[in-house]
């Protein structure tokens, strides 16, 4: 991925030198032409086009912002409910992610999503121990949400 980005920058600079137009506009035009060139030549790369990964990162960020707002509304409901009848629980969540940055990212995402805080990551980094604020109705929904997170992270890290 880094190789493709550097190649795209180099192509943009080549375009600037070819047209002897050393401005930001010239750079942007060269960059766009470079992207088109990379798309045409994608057969020769061993990894997928970096454009897809950037798109996956943008989608993950939007998902994250949405979940952050939902989480806060849920905390607001729990805190302002007249009766404290939630059922907190610690539960184990087996993860399929392997690299450390993926697990860190997943833990941050889980901590900022509705009703869950990561308390402990097991030594072999295969299980996350999560504290849920309300076990009764959230359990199923949380599994679905985190599956979507995990899928989004895998989408980013896929080569």
């Amino acid at each position: 991925m880094a190789f493709q980005i550097i190649l795209n920058f180099v192509l943009a600079f080549v375009w600037m030198f070819l047209s002897s137009n050393y401005t930001a506009t010239g750079f942007i035009v060269g960059f766009i032409l470079g992207i088109i060139l990379l798309i045409i030549m994608r057969r020769f790369f061993t990894t997928r086009l970096y454009v897809y990964r950037i798109w996956a990162i943008i989608k993950l960020t939007l998902l994250f912002l949405k979940e952050l707002v939902l989480a806060n509304i849920q905390v607001l409901r729990v805190v302002l409910k007249p009766k404290l009848d939630m059922q907190p629980a610690f539960f184990a969540y087996p993860t399929v992610l392997t690299q450390e940055w993926e697990i860190t990212l997943l833990s941050s995402l889980i901590t900022l999503t509705p009703g869950t805080v990561v308390v402990h990551v097991s030594d072999d980094a295969k299980t996350l121990y999560v504290h849920a604020i309300d076990m009764s109705d959230v359990d199923e929904a949380i599994t679905a949400i985190r599956d979507s997170f995990e899928k989004a992270i895998l989408e980013v890290s896929k080569s």
Binding site: A71, V78, V79, V117, V119, H131
Partner: protein, 122 residues
């Protein structure tokens, strides 16, 4: 245009203040450390972020001064907020802070016991 900008600023700052107030109420009302960590790590992060975004829009749209330091502050809060919540709950659990009696399921206890036994911590 000024009205629109002003209402944007007022919207973000009041949302932020609302979430900060909810954090404070949650810290008083909720029964144990772990449920308080929920209020502290989520609502405080989003509350301060909303206030900062409001300040950013105020200086950008009304005072005509683009300040990227506020955006960096938002980014740093975004990264460090959840990590703080995680570290505090984890160290409290290892130090032996008991969860609330209403806690229905505890799969973490055996794991921590096993870890302590392995490392020879009493």
């Amino acid at each position: 245009m000024t009205i629109l900008a002003n209402s944007l600023v007022i919207f973000f700052i009041s949302i932020g203040v609302l979430f900060i107030v909810v954090t404070a109420i949650g810290l008083i009302r909720l029964p144990d450390l772990y449920t308080r960590a929920h209020a502290a790590s989520k609502s405080a992060t989003l509350g301060v972020m909303c206030v900062l975004i409001g300040v950013f829009f105020h200086f950008w749209l009304i005072e005509d001064h683009f300040n990227p330091r506020i955006l960096l502050g938002i980014l740093f809060l975004f990264i460090t907020g959840p990590v703080g919540g995680h570290i505090m709950t984890r160290s409290s659990y290892i130090a032996g802070v008991k969860p609330w009696k209403g806690t229905v399921r505890d799969e973490l206890g055996p794991e921590i016991d096993r870890m302590k036994k392995e490392q020879g911590i009493k």
